[in-house]
């Protein structure tokens, strides 16, 4: 019987454990956006979004849309967000000056493929032959720390952490950490190191679903979400 994997929310929770008080964080569209719901209490994170806003509040849910949805206050995914004290706006060139200038502490990005060297590929649509580079390439090249958040395998069961990427790269050697539904992997000059595994999983079972050769950490442990 297939073993249980972490939910998307649990992946986001594990990523959020990497945040630190005062961090400037940029969250990609999709799974990465969920991370903002799991920031430990008392910790202040300032979110940056490509479209020129720093320090915005949470995403506006359906019940609040009548009062708070406003097309002039959205995140990079086009979702309505709440205003927050201390928030500020700036134009697109300033927004990416912040990114290239090294002001983003952590970028959490979605993943299509990651190579054993820490190359990231996430901008081509699978099977369509086209894609959007968007703002992800600047983030992958220039954020201080890049964390990938994704399911460990594709919908067809193929490994996402592979020896060499088969689709165009977002950035070479950019990944610091990969958090999946079965593992936490840290990228080092020696290769990808398996640091944590989901409950009931073994290192060899994770390796079976990973094309790249994993180095097993001496202090390998179970993923802790809180």
């Amino acid at each position: 019987m297939a073993k249980e994997r972490l939910s998307r929310e649990a992946i986001a929770m594990r990523v959020a454990k990497e945040f630190f008080d005062g961090a400037i964080v940029n969250l990609g569209i999709g799974l990465p956006t969920l991370c903002s719901s799991f920031v430990p209490e008392g910790m202040q994170i300032t979110y940056h979004s490509e479209n020129g806003v720093l320090g915005f509040g949470r995403v506006v849910m359906d019940e609040d849309k009548a009062q708070w949805a406003d097309i002039d206050l959205t995140n990079a995914g086009g979702q309505y967000v709440f205003p927050k004290p201390g928030m500020c706006f700036f134009h697109h060139a300033d927004s990416f000056a912040m990114i290239r200038g090294g002001r983003i502490d952590i970028a959490v990005l979605g993943v299509l493929e990651v190579s054993e060297k820490g190359d990231l590929a996430n901008w081509m649509f699978p099977g369509r032959g086209v894609g959007n580079i968007g703002g992800g390439m600047d983030l992958a090249f220039c954020a201080k720390r890049v964390i990938g958040a994704t399911e460990h395998t594709t919908k067809d069961g193929k490994a996402k952490l592979i020896k060499q990427c088969t689709v165009p790269l977002t950035a070479p050697h950019c990944m610091d950490m990969l958090v999946t539904d079965i593992a936490v992997i840290k990228f080092t000059p020696k290769g990808p190191v398996l640091k944590e595994i989901a409950p009931e999983w073994t290192a060899s079972e994770v390796q079976e679903l990973t094309e790249a050769k994993l180095i097993i950490a001496e202090d390998l442990k179970e993923i802790e979400l809180i």
């Binding site: 509040g57 949805a69 097309i71 002039d72 959205t74 086009g78 959007n132 580079i133 703002g135 090249f141």
Partner: protein, 249 residues
């Protein structure tokens, strides 16, 4: 004579766009900050062989049903698009631009978003080219000069200029000073800097002196034409608020 850049209609404000012009169009992922009425006027005006520079090519997943600059593609007015996010996120509903790009009717130059923004800013700032750390080792480096500074590779990218910039702002004074509302700002200020003729579509036009000079985002000299929006749109906006909050909501 007092300077007055106010035009009475969107049609008049784009009447002299020539075939083959390069046009900056302010836009991002959603409808905020898109000059919808100027785009419609340009569609009706009919100039062809345009080069469109914008974050998207219109009609992407989130704006599938909006008449943004996708209508310029629909009307076959575009020969080239320079964008960072040109393709629809919905595979079942490819945008007009996507179909025309894949059919070879429209040329696409895809830029990382930060490179696109800086190319636009640089063009307006008189910087002909610059080196960016974004892109070496990816498809973006093809055909570009790569140089190493302090051991790190950089790509040379060129500044972009335009004949017209169609921008969206919140308020203008009659001299052309602009302020913006929230994330509406995005590409609009830098696009205003780099065009021979910048046309601003705004919610409100006021007299000089009514906008606090400390708060002006686009200085008047960058703006040649201003048109006020009078029609209501269906998008949620609360123009009575300016997003300043003292406590978390």
């Amino acid at each position: 004579m007092a300077i007055n850049k106010v035009f009475n209609s969107f049609q008049e404000a784009v009447a002299d766009v020539k075939h083959g012009s390069v046009i900056f169009i302010g836009n991002f992922a959603g409808p905020g900050g898109t000059p919808f009425f100027l785009i419609k006027a340009l569609r009706d005006q009919g100039a062809k062989n345009l080069t469109i520079v914008g974050n998207t090519a219109g009609g992407i997943g989130l704006t599938l049903d909006y008449d943004d600059h996708r209508i310029l593609f629909q009307n076959h007015q575009v020969k080239k698009v320079i964008a960072s996010f040109p393709f629809s996120t919905s595979p079942k509903r490819p945008s007009d631009a996507e179909k025309q790009i894949l059919a070879g009717e429209v040329e696409l130059e895809m830029c990382p978003q930060g490179t696109l923004a800086e190319r636009i800013r640089a063009g307006g700032a008189g910087i002909v080219a610059f080196y960016t750390p974004t892109g070496p080792g990816t498809v973006i480096e093809e055909g570009k000069e790569k140089s190493y500074f302090n051991g790190r590779p950089y790509l040379m990218e060129y500044g972009l200029k335009a004949d017209f910039a169609l921008v969206r702002a919140w308020k203008a004074d009659t001299m052309g000073n602009l302020i913006f509302r929230g994330t509406q700002r995005q590409f609009n200020p830098i696009m205003a800097m780099g065009a021979d003729i910048t046309v601003a579509e705004v919610d409100e036009i006021v007299q000089p002196g009514e906008i606090n000079p400390n708060c002006v985002i686009v200085p008047s000299l960058y703006v040649q034409r201003i048109v006020k929006v009078t029609e209501k749109t269906d998008f949620p906006r609360h123009l009575e608020t300016d997003f300043q909050v003292k406590e978390e909501v």
